[in-house]
């Protein structure tokens, strides 16, 4: 009894001292730092994407802070989990802007979440930078003053690239679509249709499936019977794996040209050996990358995160690379703005001249008409070899 009261008194004292220390330090540190936020999936099926984004942002942040920060202040990252849920994403964005007073914040992998945040971003006039979600309307949102920027792929442009690739590589004349049944699938259904229209082609068929579907043979059989000579696949890694397994079981050896879903996890483990036949789009790959910056960033990653040993351990490299470049571009925009006010930072984005980034050398990456820093010429096609993503040479 006496021992217990002893301990609790000591604990109380310690807690008191700690809180005093916090009060003492609090305001001073707030003056020295500038907060940037992240709303991304840190738990659930897409948790690995959130981890990749945090790594990319943190690495860039360390570099910026090592050089003295921005406007004389150190940058600090505040992370909120959206659990891939749009409603939670909006709450998280509000919290970041209103309570944490972030000067800008980044978005995660889920298009539905980013789409939900867009109206709030434009209304609160604090820049929101997408680093993964590719939904076309995230940046092309028709707001008179658009506060949403992106360093990632754009569905509408990806779809054009997918169609071009299927024609050039496989001579596809009548490709079919197998799409996940959610807003991301819809965004690409529209994009693929208009990309095919532009080539005066029509799809053999358009089939949807649910993320939890075990067996996709019925949908694929419809596409096969309709005479599809190639498939466009849009889904995250686990559902994509179910498509490949179903193809295997049918014994249908059809070329699969995919959006970047398979990159989000252990595709070969989930889908088996045929996973290697799927060609999918990426904005970046550490493997086979001769850019010295890629080597330097990879070394820095290994140093900061000892669990990373090879390129196979950073399978969603796009998340890291997009986030890394986005953080640097945002810091440049704030520096150009000379202020932490949202409207001035927005102007700052337009004033960025040239930046030698990880993905490429950016030159005037943003204009009032173009809020996407990456274009189809930055996309590359890749495939899985074991657990590693390798670029395809042609």
């Amino acid at each position: 009894m006496t021992f217990a009261s002893h301990v609790s008194r000591r604990l109380l004292l310690a807690a008191g001292a700690a809180s005093l220390a916090l009060i003492g330090v609090g305001p001073a540190s707030a003056e020295d730092t500038m907060k940037v936020g992240l709303v991304a999936a840190m738990s659930g099926q897409s948790a690995k994407s959130g981890e990749a984004i945090v790594r990319g942002l943190s690495l860039a942040l360390d570099e910026i802070n090592a050089k003295g920060g921005v406007l004389g202040k150190k940058l600090e990252l505040v992370v909120r989990d959206d659990e891939s849920n749009p409603a939670k994403g909006v709450i998280a964005a509000r919290e970041l802007v209103q309570r944490e007073k972030v000067v800008a914040y980044f978005g995660g992998i889920d298009t539905p979440v980013s789409m939900a945040i867009v109206p709030f971003a434009n209304q609160s006039k604090v820049p929101f930078i997408g680093v993964w979600a590719a939904g076309t309307k995230i940046t092309r949102n028709d707001a008179p003053e658009n506060y949403v920027f992106r360093v990632s792929a754009v569905d509408a442009l990806v779809d054009i690239a997918l169609v071009d690739y299927a024609i050039k590589k496989y001579g596809a004349k009548k490709p079919g679509m197998i799409l996940i049944n959610n807003p991301w699938g819809e965004s690409n259904e529209a994009g693929l249709k208009s990309a095919l229209d532009a080539k005066k082609m029509t799809a053999a068929g358009i089939e949807k499936f649910e993320g939890g579907d075990v067996d996709i043979v019925p949908q694929l059989t419809r596409l096969k019977d309709a005479g599809a000579d190639a498939l466009f696949m849009v889904a995250n890694v686990a559902p994509s794996a179910q498509v490949v397994k179903s193809l295997d079981r049918m014994g249908w050896n059809v070329p699969v040209v995919s959006h970047w879903g398979p990159a989000g996890g252990r595709f070969t483990e989930l889908a088996g050996p045929s996973a290697e036949k799927v060609h999918f789009i990426q904005t970046f790959s550490f493997s086979g990358n001769s850019n010295p910056k890629a080597t330097a960033v990879f070394e820095a990653l290994k140093k900061k995160y000892p669990e990373i040993k090879s390129a196979a351990d950073v399978t969603p490299a796009v998340g890291i690379a997009n986030a890394y470049d986005a953080m640097h571009l945002t810091a440049l925009a704030i520096a150009k703005a000379g202020s932490t006010e949202g409207p001035k930072i927005r102007e700052g984005f337009y004033q960025i001249g040239s930046y030698d980034g990880l993905i490429k050398t950016y030159s005037k990456p943003f204009t009032p008409d173009n809020h996407d820093a990456l274009s189809p010429s930055d996309y590359l096609f890749t495939y899985f070899k074991g657990a590693e993503i390798l670029p395809l040479t042609n």
Partner: protein, 289 residues
């Protein structure tokens, strides 16, 4: 196209049936169900993966161990989340078992990891040709297991002394107790059997699917729809409803297209229940032993 749709449908349908049997068994014995059935299914798959793939135990041992833990989970659910509420005449076990599922899903997410993993099996590696459609041997095993278990359960419940004591419990627990039946133990056993069945479904589906902390949710919901559709009180009814559900799902997808699958399937469920409110094979309050 018809053959492959039928094979797909029967495989998936017996999976739903197996989990739904778990709803059935606790319902007939105690008038309660464990809404964490989907999570129990996930637990079976995750533990099977952990023991068999990660620790490299021999697969039969890994499966038995996984099923034992699933049964233990059922015991815990019954003892902590169902019995105290039922004793007080409260229906809060409904919410408590839902909560147990959420807690288990999240606990597994933290310990097992956030990423879906692949569960390799020799029975799902090389498809064999059957009437022109590709089938994994495992897809043929699943319906056999489902129908076999339903048969055994039917026999045990209706034609053995032990089974009849189970049914006596649900009708009048007090009378059953006076007749020397250990009511608490009987109900606890039914919950253990129910989660073990779900765990078995998880182990069987894992090689065809992937293993993750979220895999049980959708199966749990569909299986509950199946249990209601079949009539909670009939083991055969539940399994047949499972097969029917799976078949309709696959046939609608094949012949109308995937856009219509959920609309048609759930409309059929609603229509069936409107015509037969106690389920296709259920009876309004059976009262004989």
């Amino acid at each position: 196209m018809l053959t492959s749709a039928i094979i797909s449908g029967i495989g998936l349908g017996s999976m739903y049936g197996l989990i739904a049997l778990g709803f059935h068994i606790t319902y007939v014995v105690s008038n309660t169900v464990n809404f964490a059935q989907g999570s129990a299914m996930m637990l079976g798959a995750v533990l099977g993966y952990t023991f068999g793939v990660r620790y490299g135990w021999p697969m039969p041992l890994a499966m038995l161990a996984a099923l034992a833990v699933c049964a233990l989970f059922g015991l815990v659910v019954e003892r902590i989340l169902v019995r105290p509420f039922v004793a007080r005449g409260s229906n809060a076990w409904l919410m408590a078992t839902v909560a147990a599922g959420i807690v288990l899903d999240n606990a597994v997410m933290f310990t097992f990891g956030k990423e879906p993993r692949g569960f390799p099996s020799d029975w799902a590696a090389q498809p064999i040709r059957l009437f022109g459609a590709g089938v994994y041997p495992l897809q043929l095993v699943i319906p056999l297991v489902g129908i076999g278990i339903a048969g055994v359960m039917h026999l045990l419940l209706r034609h053995t002394r032990r089974g009849k004591t189970l049914l006596a419990v649900v009708q009048n627990p007090d009378a059953a107790r006076l007749m020397g039946i250990n009511v608490h133990r009987t109900i606890a056993i039914s919950f253990m059997v129910s989660t073990a069945l779900a765990g078995l479904a998880g182990l069987l589906i894992a090689p065809l699917f992937s293993v993750s902390s979220e895999m049980g949710t959708l199966f749990g919901i569909k299986a509950f729809a199946v249990a209601i559709l079949g009539g909670m009180g009939s083991a055969w009814g539940v399994v047949i409803a499972g097969l029917a559900y799976g078949l309709i799902e696959a046939l609608v997808t094949s012949f109308l297209g995937s856009v219509y699958t959920q609309i048609v399937v759930f409309s059929v469920v609603i229509l069936a229940l409107a015509l037969k409110p106690n389920g296709l094979f259920g009876h309004a309050a059976i009262n004989k032993v």
